[in-house]
Symmetry: C2
Subunit: 126 residues, 2 copies
């Protein structure tokens, strides 16, 4: 069993989430050891929420869970890459498919890529 290095960031490490079919990078979040174990056991991408200070099963509120198809770990065991099937078609709480919808143009301006695929107000009942 691989031993991940949670020490560099005080118990956390970054986890990149990528669409397993298209290769699109959907989001980045952090895992503690509990989140890592829960991901392995459940097959659902699970993180540690730094703002809520609690385990965060992605999609628990919205229904947009991420089914883990493949797990990769980097050369020094301090970063995880999850290849997932994104239920609901969008990973971002804004309704965008990917959280990385802001493109920086050559002048340094921000260009929004794509449109939300769901209405956050509807999904999260704000």
């Amino acid at each position: 069993m691989i031993q991940l290095d949670f020490n560099k960031m005080g118990g956390l490490l970054p986890a990149i989430v990528q669409d397993h079919e298209t290769g699109e990078v959907l989001m980045l979040a952090f895992m503690n050891e509990e989140a890592w174990r829960h991901t392995l056991k459940s097959g659902k991408a699970t993180f540690y929420s730094r703002t809520r200070n609690s385990l965060w099963i992605k999609g628990d509120t919205s229904g947009n869970v991420q089914l883990v198809k493949e797990i990769r770990v980097d050369c020094d065991n301090d970063t995880v890459l999850l290849k997932v099937a994104q239920v609901g078609g969008a990973a971002c709480h804004t309704g965008h498919r990917s959280c990385f919808y802001q493109k920086i143009t050559e002048t340094g301006a921000v260009e929004i890529i794509g449109k939300p695929v769901f209405d956050p107000k509807e999904v999260y009942k704000e």
Copy 2:
């Protein structure tokens, strides 16, 4: 000009590096504000080395620089995604194309994906 949030991690934020053509995730590193500005100005992926405590122009030693083709920023401005052309064909100091060459199998074992494309001893003159 976008304002990135360097505060959540004490002056750093994670930067994901992806091959701009294949979509393969090559590595993850951290940027401070100086690294971010250097990346924008030079067009070469530049990070902050947590082990050396200094600016790290990726490929400065090995020659395997990363030419930035596109920059994306996530929904809360605390993570960067660089789409790059990887000079020399490999991002990892081990000689592997991607740092994420360890696949976790269903039993929890590690399977090495692919072979190094260069010999680290040759490139880094160890």
